[in-house]
Each structure stands twice: as structure tokens, then as C-alpha cells.
């Protein structure tokens, strides 16, 4: 321990970070991950191990938004992660090597550290056109994912595209895009860090968690860490008091909007979206989407491009009725239509009945003249009553 700790502590001190600050940082990490305070000490120990775990970062049908997120990491910083914590042996956007030498670096890790490295995948994996919708070095995304993720100690699907298919898989999914979990079934230790992109704080927290405990944190039914995706946005939202009060933004820029009222009526998907945005914020806690005045669009949820749209409506449309025909609009029209149909039908029926009754009355009159009848008193009375109601 002594040796490995000393370089680390020296390193920290040289960079103006005292041992206390560092332990403080570990405590913050622990609290993001909702772990007991003592866990901080364990994290600190784990971050000082000398052999850095290898990491292969694959980009497929992505926009590099999650790579940019990675560049925004502050606790620990990107430089700390790249230089001290992990060995980022393959990451197309930042690596110095290019072409076949880059591919060799990746192959070296896959062959040399089988079962030991971490795979990170950003972007979905297309299955259409025999893989030609995404190739790197002439090989398809699927071939690469099978090879790299198949032998990884763990796979981190970062961003909604990798975790759930995301934008490329939105209807009509032109390229047959799949999430990592669906494209390479049966992966051991798959963890999904959804959101579009994933939040840097959560990325860092997962990395630190893994480094500390050698396993992924507990996950929800979509394999997302509970510490980050355990509660709906709505439950931690700073506008929640306005929601409960019944105070809503009605028009963009209105008085309610300026006062920070709830964005529910503008289509906010906070009640149906799970992530810790309101708790930890974005970009070092500077703000978050709802905080700045725009509704949550549900970016951490599976299929949000189809299920949460139109973004400014409370509900999606009813298939076949057009994009602006939300379930409630169609429902209202259907109700009005059926009510009208019954009203009209009722009149028609009433008319027919009048005719029949007239005929019956004539027949009865004729019969009455011919023969006198007795009717059961009770029945007649009620019949009368029914006829009048």
C-alpha cells in the first residue's frame, strides 16, 4: 500500500489538493451514490491502485454527446480519469493514433486483457444492410461490439442510444438500430447509463463505484444504477410546490414562467422520467433543463423519441389520427360523436315508436270494441309509468 499511496498523495499535493480535500471528494462521490460516509475511505483506497484498468470506448451510431459529457467530468476531472484512474486505451475522439494503428491498440487490449478490461459503448448498433450502416476499419459495428463487449469484464452502455436504441432506433428505425443489450445478448455485467447524453456526474460516479467495489451498483429493471435513476424527476423537482398548488406556466414567457411555475401544462415529462437531474444538476450543478425553464423531454427513458413526443403535449397521439391528435383530443371528439349519434338515434327511434303506438292504439281500440279485457292492475300501472318516463 505504502508505495502506491505515496505517489498518489504526492501527485495530489503537487496539484494543490490536500489529502483532506481528496477524502472530501470521495465523500461527495459516496453521497452521490447514496452510500454510507465510511465508503469514502474505501473509494480513496481503490483510486490509488497502481495498475489502471483498461478501458475501450466504442462509438457506433452516436453523436459523440456522451464523449463531450466525459470531457465535462469535474469530480474527478477528465484529466484525472485519463491520466491517473483508467487507462483509456481506445477512444476514437481523443486518441492520438489513427487508422490501423488505432485498431491494433484495441486488438491488443482485447487479446492481452481478456475478461479484465471495461468496454464503454456510445451509440446504437445497426443491423440493417448487413452492418454497412456503421463500419470502422472496414468491420461492422456489430462485429466489433461482439468481439469487444463479449470479452469485457463489464460493459457500460452510455447514453440512451447505446442503452435503449435512442434516436437511430426512433420510428421508423431506418437502419435496424439496436441497443447494446439487444445487439449482443447475454453480456455479463451490462450497465445502462441512459440520458441524452448521460450526465458527467453519473458517469464519474459509476466509474468510481466500479473501481471501488469491483462490481456495478444495484440497478433498476432497465439495468440503470438506482443511485441515479431511482426516482422520478418530478419527485425532486424544485417546481413541485407549484405543481401541487396548481400553478402552471400557461404561455412561454408569461408571469408564471418568470416566477418558476410548474411546466406540466407545457408537456413536462418529469413525472414519468427517472433521473437525478434536479438533485445534482448539470455542468457542475449549474442548472438543469427544467431549472432553466423548458420541460423535461424524458431523455433517460426507453423509446422516449416515440413515447414522449410530441414533446409539448401531455400525451402522445393515437395511431392513425395524426401527430397533434392526442389521446384526449381523440377521446373528446369520440365522446361528442357518440353522444350525438345517440341523440339522433333516440329521435329516430322515438318517431318510429310514435307510429307503432298509433297503430297499436288503433288495433287496441278495435279489439276493445270487440271484447272487454282485464289487465293486471299492477302491471298496467307500471307500464303506464314506464311509458311516461
Amino acid at each position: 500500500m505504502a508505495k502506491s499511496e505515496s505517489w498518489f498523495v504526492e501527485e495530489l499535493e503537487r496539484r494543490g489538493v490536500s489529502r483532506r480535500d481528496f477524502l472530501g471528494f470521495c465523500g461527495v462521490m459516496a453521497s452521490i451514490m447514496a452510500m454510507p460516509r465510511e465508503a469514502g475511505a474505501r473509494i480513496a483506497r481503490a483510486l490509488q491502485t497502481e495498475e489502471k484498468p483498461s478501458l475501450i470506448w466504442l462509438e457506433f451510431q452516436d453523436c459523440a454527446g456522451n464523449t463531450e459529457t466525459f470531457l465535462r467530468a469535474a469530480r474527478p476531472t477528465t484529466a484525472d480519469i485519463v491520466l491517473d484512474i483508467l487507462s483509456v486505451d481506445y477512444h476514437e475522439t481523443i486518441m492520438a493514433a489513427a487508422g490501423h494503428r488505432a485498431e491494433e491498440a484495441r486488438a491488443g487490449v482485447v487479446e492481452g486483457k481478456r475478461g479484465e478490461y471495461i468496454a464503454v459503448v456510445e451509440g446504437s448498433i445497426p443491423t440493417g444492410a448487413n452492418g454497412a450502416y456503421c463500419t470502422i476499419g472496414g468491420r461492422s459495428a456489430l462485429q466489433i461490439a461482439q468481439e469487444v463487449c463479449g470479452d469485457a469484464a463489464a460493459t457500460l452502455a452510455i447514453g440512451t442510444c447505446a442503452a435503449f436504441g435512442g434516436l437511430p432506433a426512433a420510428a421508423p428505425n431506418p437502419t435496424g438500430a439496436l441497443s447494446v443489450g439487444d445487439a449482443v445478448p447475454g453480456l455479463r455485467n451490462l450497465i445502462n447509463l441512459s440520458a441524452c447524453p448521460a450526465n458527467a456526474e453519473n458517469v464519474a460516479a459509476v466509474v468510481v463505484y466500479y473501481m471501488t467495489f469491483g462490481r456495478w451498483p444495484p440497478v433498476d429493471r432497465y439495468r440503470r444504477p438506482l443511485f441515479a435513476y431511482g426516482k422520478p424527476i418530478h419527485d425532486n423537482c424544485e417546481r413541485r410546490a407549484h405543481y401541487d398548488a396548481g400553478q402552471y406556466v400557461e404561455n412561454w414567457g408569461d408571469e408564471g414562467h418568470r416566477r418558476g411555475y410548474c411546466l406540466y401544462k407545457m408537456g413536462c415529462k418529469g413525472p414519468v422520467t427517472f433521473q437525478n437531474c434536479p438533485k445534482i444538476g448539470w455542468n457542475e450543478g449549474t442548472s438543469w433543463p427544467v431549472g432553466c425553464g423548458h420541460p423535461c423531454i424524458g431523455c433517460a427513458e426507453p423509446d422516449f423519441w416515440d413515447k414522449m413526443t410530441p414533446f409539448y403535449a401531455h400525451l402522445s397521439g393515437v395511431p392513425g389520427f395524426g401527430v397533434h391528435a392526442t389521446a384526449d383530443k381523440v377521446g373528446l371528439w369520440a365522446t361528442a360523436g357518440v353522444a350525438a349519434a345517440y341523440a339522433i338515434g333516440g329521435f329516430v327511434q322515438y318517431g318510429r315508436r310514435l307510429k307503432t303506438e298509433a297503430a297499436t292504439a288503433r288495433a287496441e281500440a278495435a279489439a276493445a270494441r270487440a271484447e272487454a279485457t282485464t289487465t293486471e292492475a299492477e302491471g298496467a300501472a307500471d307500464q303506464e309509468k314506464g311509458g311516461q318516463s
Partner: protein
């Protein structure tokens, strides 16, 4: 002839493959291919046009926001929404901070390692590095102790034996020409810039809730309410926070980026002779200074043909077409036609080799990029085009800075048409914008002070108020160049959507007439000392700042 293939081109966004013919140490011909397609234009069909910005923003997470703003503009143009002045100011601030941040990240984290040898930095003398640093700038982090610390940190990193992202590169290549001290200076600033960009982009978090992929855009305006006195709005705290971030950002550009750029360039002046490319430049112009459709633009629009700076033509969007002759798509009217984006089509039709493959058939279709043309010509877009159009149109600050840079390097204006020119133009543009941002912030604060708080044109929010059928176009200058979106709306739904993107202009393949795209043209004539380590090819390609997720979408 040797086929030199680089796939993947790294330190860019996305999936770019360059194939070249190298003969006698020089690139004789080149083919640019992007190898990833998602079909976002198709995915947009049938959707609510007010949602389109969120979809298109995800075309790229590096130049995040640019497709959002362009989409918003296209839809506003179609339905006739008129965003108020505050929305324009907020958007200008968002666009400019995106530009500044993206350019700095490109210079230090994507491009620098083509010119800077990290391994050589290890043998630098910290004291000499400090002298060098102090001679070019008064940036405070410039002591010998500071550089000794950086060197040691890198040394320790190397000593641990795991080079990570710096492994397998072309270190020690003869094309690296900086002295160890300059290399160490650059490495120190590589690390500083990593922290800088994270701080600076918090402007986006203030204005958009988060970065990447801001979430404050609206068709018709912006979603960030303004009120100097309210906690639920952008208020005085937000203004002062942004002012601080803008000033710190600008200081870094002035005192670190520009001096580094000039220092590095002075060792690579021969690169003013390579990588010129097609010599035609297109800029849509950006940063409206007023609210009607022909309001003046801070950076002008225009077209320059055959490097003729004395004649900046007006830009006519009707002259834009896209070809798919060498792209993996088909057009209904046949693949030799060029289509105007308002009537554009995106029908994938892969005809290339089945993966895994070794080589593409470059005589046939060979890329997912289309080939945009202006008046039938290949056009370069990007910082160089913008600076040339501004220079040619008499933009005084741009002229001043371009002349200053040329003077510092002791080269003439013809040096601009080159790989080095592209790198320099990007730096100059960054400074021009970093200087300008505070003006927009002042204007915004001023409006807030006067109680002018409008952020949105509510009249066109409800689709019931839209014409039954309408179409529109949106234009923007993204970091990598001229960006346009075209939208056709029928009954409140998107009927057709087309994006013609900077990296499509620059990286696109040949057209029906066999004309090369700008990357391809720029590579012809590039020297390659060692075909096994084609660092020179990377330099020219990187000078365009490729973004393939944008280019193909």
C-alpha cells in the same frame, strides 16, 4: 502507387475513412468516405415540427445546438413565427459560446497532436519553457515550477507504462518540428484547456439547462424567462455569472490560444503551401444584429470563387444542390441529378462491399456523405470561408486580426489558402467572437433593466394557426461552416426534412461531373514522408475539423 488507407481517422467526431494514392512521397489522389448512417431526416417525417430541433440537435453532440437553432429557424421561416429581440440575443450568446468552445477544443484536443510531440516534451527544460511562455504571453501560469510540475506529471504517467490514448501514435516522426520546450508548453495548455472548456461551457448550462444538448429552444423564441429580480428566471445572478465566464474565456483565448497558435505556426510555415483545396468559399453569415429577415449579420454572408477575395458574391440559396452519384443513396430521377434540398430525398441504397472489407470501390458509390454543390461547384465552408468572406467584405476587426497574424508569421495573404490558413482562421474567428460576446450580454441585461422581457412569439405556437401547407429554410454558421435545414410542413406535420451540413460540403465525395470534394482536393499534393505513418494526411484532414455525425446524419 500505394493505396494508403486511414480508417478510422481519429481525433474527429465520427466515422471517417480516407483512401489515397501515394506516389513519390506525395498524395496523387484521394477519396473521402463516411461510414455511418442513421437516417434522422427520415425519422423526422410525420412528426411535430416544434419537436424537430431536439431531434436534429442530436445529429451532433460536439457542435451541439447548431442543428437545433437551424431547425428552429427553418420552422419559424415556414410558419411565419417572429422571435423577439431577447431570443435573438440569447441565441447569439449560445451560438458564439459554442463556436469559441468548439474551436479551442479542436485546436488543443483534436488537432494539436498532429503538430505537438508529447514524448519530446519530456526532455524540455522547464526554465526555458517558462522563458518561452513569458515571451509570448503574460498568462500567469508560466513559472518554471509550473512547467516542471507538468513535465513530472507526464513523466509519471509515462513511467506507469500505460500510455492509454497516447499509445501507438507517430511520436518521433520527422514531421514533428517543435523544440521540446514548445512541446511542453503545448502539453501544459492541452491540460489547461481541458479544464477551461468545462468551465466556459457553463454559459450553456445557464442559458440551456445543460451541455451538451441544450434544452431551452422553442419555435418562436426561447424557453428561458427573463426577469432581473426573480429566482425562477434568468436574473442578475445569471448575467453576472455569464459575464465572469465570458471574460475568463476571452482571457484564455487572448493569452493562451492565440499566442500558442502563432508560436506553433511559426515552426510550420511550409504548411501554408499545402492543403489549399477547391479554392471556392461559401458562408451563410451569422449573428443577426436585428430582428427582421434582412437584418445585418455580424459575420457577413457571401461566396468567393477561385480565391478571388476582391469579389465577394451575394449568396443565392436557389443555387444549392446535392448529388448522390458516388453516395450510397438513390434518387427517384436518377443518380446523376442534383436535387435542391427543398425537394431533397434520402433513400439509402448500399452498394459497397459487405463488411469486413479491405477497400472500397471508389469508382462507384463510396460514401454515406452526399455531395453538395453551389452553382455546380465544390465549396469549402468553415472558419476560413467565413474569415475570407468577412475580409473580402471589409469587416474591420477581421481584417485587422488577419493582417496581424500574417505579419507575425511574415507571410502574404496567399498563405490563407492552405492547411495552415484554416488553422489560423479558426483562431482569429475565436478571438473575434470572444470579444463580441459581452456586447450581446450587455444588450440583454439592458433589455431586462428596461423591463423588456419578451422571449417568445406566442401567436404561432398553436399549429391551428399555421398554413395548411408551408415550407421554410434555416441557415446558420456552425463551427465547421455553413449549415442549412429545409422543412416542408403539411397539416402541421413534417412532410420532408433535409439537412445540408458543413462536413457534407467539405468531406463529400465526387459529384456527377467527377469533381472532387474539398477534403479530396486539399489532399492532392500533400507530402507523405512515410506511408506507414501518414501524419501529413491527418494534418490536412484535421484542419477542416471533420464531423461525420453531422456530415451524414
Amino acid at each position: 502507387m500505394t493505396r494508403v488507407v486511414i480508417d478510422p481517422i481519429t481525433r474527429i467526431e465520427g466515422h471517417l475513412r480516407i483512401e489515397t494514392e501515394v506516389d513519390g512521397g506525395v498524395v496523387r489522389d484521394a477519396w473521402s468516405s463516411s461510414t455511418m448512417f442513421r437516417g434522422i431526416e427520415t425519422i423526422l417525417k410525420g412528426r411535430d415540427p416544434r419537436d424537430a430541433w431536439a431531434f436534429t440537435q442530436r445529429i451532433c453532440g460536439v457542435c451541439t445546438t447548431v442543428h437545433a437553432i437551424t431547425s428552429i429557424r427553418a420552422v419559424e421561416n415556414a410558419i411565419g413565427a417572429r422571435p423577439p429581440a431577447n431570443a435573438r440575443l440569447l441565441r447569439n450568446l449560445i451560438m458564439a459560446s459554442q463556436m469559441v468552445q468548439d474551436h479551442v477544443v479542436h485546436f488543443y484536443h483534436l488537432h494539436a497532436l498532429d503538430w505537438v510531440d508529447i514524448v519530446s516534451a519530456l526532455s524540455a527544460d522547464p526554465a526555458a519553457t517558462a522563458r518561452l511562455a513569458q515571451s509570448i504571453s503574460d498568462w500567469p501560469l508560466s513559472s518554471a515550477t509550473y512547467f516542471a510540475g507538468v513535465r513530472e506529471r507526464v513523466q509519471q504517467f509515462v513511467d506507469r507504462g500505460q500510455l492509454g490514448p497516447f499509445a501507438n501514435a507517430y511520436w518521433g516522426h520527422s514531421a514533428y518540428r517543435l523544440p521540446p520546450e514548445a512541446n511542453l508548453l503545448a502539453v501544459a495548455h492541452y491540460l489547461e484547456a481541458l479544464d477551461w472548456q468545462r468551465d466556459f461551457i457553463r454559459i450553456h448550462a445557464v442559458l440551456g439547462g445543460k451541455n451538451p444538448h441544450l434544452q431551452s429552444f422553442l419555435v418562436g423564441g426561447m424557453a428561458t424567462p427573463l426577469d432581473a429580480d426573480k429566482q425562477g428566471s434568468l436574473n442578475m445572478t445569471s448575467i453576472s455569472m455569464m459575464r465572469k465566464l465570458i471574460r475568463e474565456g476571452r482571457a484564455f483565448v487572448e493569452k493562451v490560444y492565440i499566442p500558442d497558435l502563432l508560436a506553433v505556426a511559426s515552426f510550420y510555415k511550409d504548411w501554408a503551401g499545402y492543403g489549399a483545396g477547391v479554392g471556392n468559399y461559401l458562408a451563410y453569415g451569422e449573428y443577426p444584429e436585428g430582428d427582421d429577415s434582412n437584418a445585418p449579420l455580424f459575420l457577413p454572408r457571401g461566396v468567393i470563387r477561385s480565391r478571388d477575395l476582391s469579389n465577394v458574391e451575394p449568396m443565392d440559396p436557389a443555387k444549392i444542390t446535392e448529388f448522390v452519384t458516388h453516395s450510397w443513396y438513390e434518387y427517384e430521377a436518377g443518380d446523376s441529378e442534383g436535387l435542391h434540398p427543398a425537394a431533397g430525398e434520402t433513400r439509402p441504397n448500399y452498394t459497397g462491399p459487405e463488411p469486413p472489407y479491405e477497400l472500397l470501390n471508389t469508382d462507384e458509390k463510396y460514401s454515406w456523405l452526399k455531395s453538395p454543390r453551389y452553382d455546380g461547384l465544390s465549396m469549402e465552408v468553415g472558419p476560413l470561408s467565413r474569415m475570407l468572406v468577412a475580409y473580402g467584405s471589409g469587416h474591420s476587426r477581421v481584417q485587422e486580426l488577419v493582417n496581424y497574424a500574417l505579419g507575425q508569421l511574415g507571410v502574404g495573404p496567399e498563405a490563407l489558402f492552405s492547411t495552415l490558413g484554416r488553422v489560423a482562421a479558426r483562431g482569429i474567428e475565436t478571438l473575434v467572437l470572444a470579444e463580441k460576446m459581452e456586447d450581446w450580454l450587455d444588450e440583454l441585461a439592458d433589455n431586462m433593466g428596461r423591463g423588456q422581457l419578451d422571449i417568445h412569439d406566442n401567436s404561432m405556437w398553436d399549429p391551428a394557426n399555421w398554413p395548411a401547407e408551408c415550407s421554410g429554410a434555416g441557415f446558420h454558421e456552425a463551427p465547421r461552416g455553413a449549415l442549412g435545414h429545409w422543412v416542408h410542413i403539411v397539416d402541421g406535420e413534417i412532410a420532408n426534412y433535409q439537412c445540408v451540413v458543413p462536413s457534407t460540403w467539405n468531406a463529400g465525395p465526387r459529384d456527377a461531373a467527377g469533381q472532387r470534394g474539398p477534403y479530396e482536393e486539399a489532399l492532392v499534393g500533400t507530402p507523405v514522408a512515410d506511408a506507414e505513418q501518414p501524419i501529413e494526411i491527418l494534418r490536412t484532414v484535421h484542419s477542416f475539423d471533420p464531423c461525420m455525425a453531422c456530415g451524414v446524419h
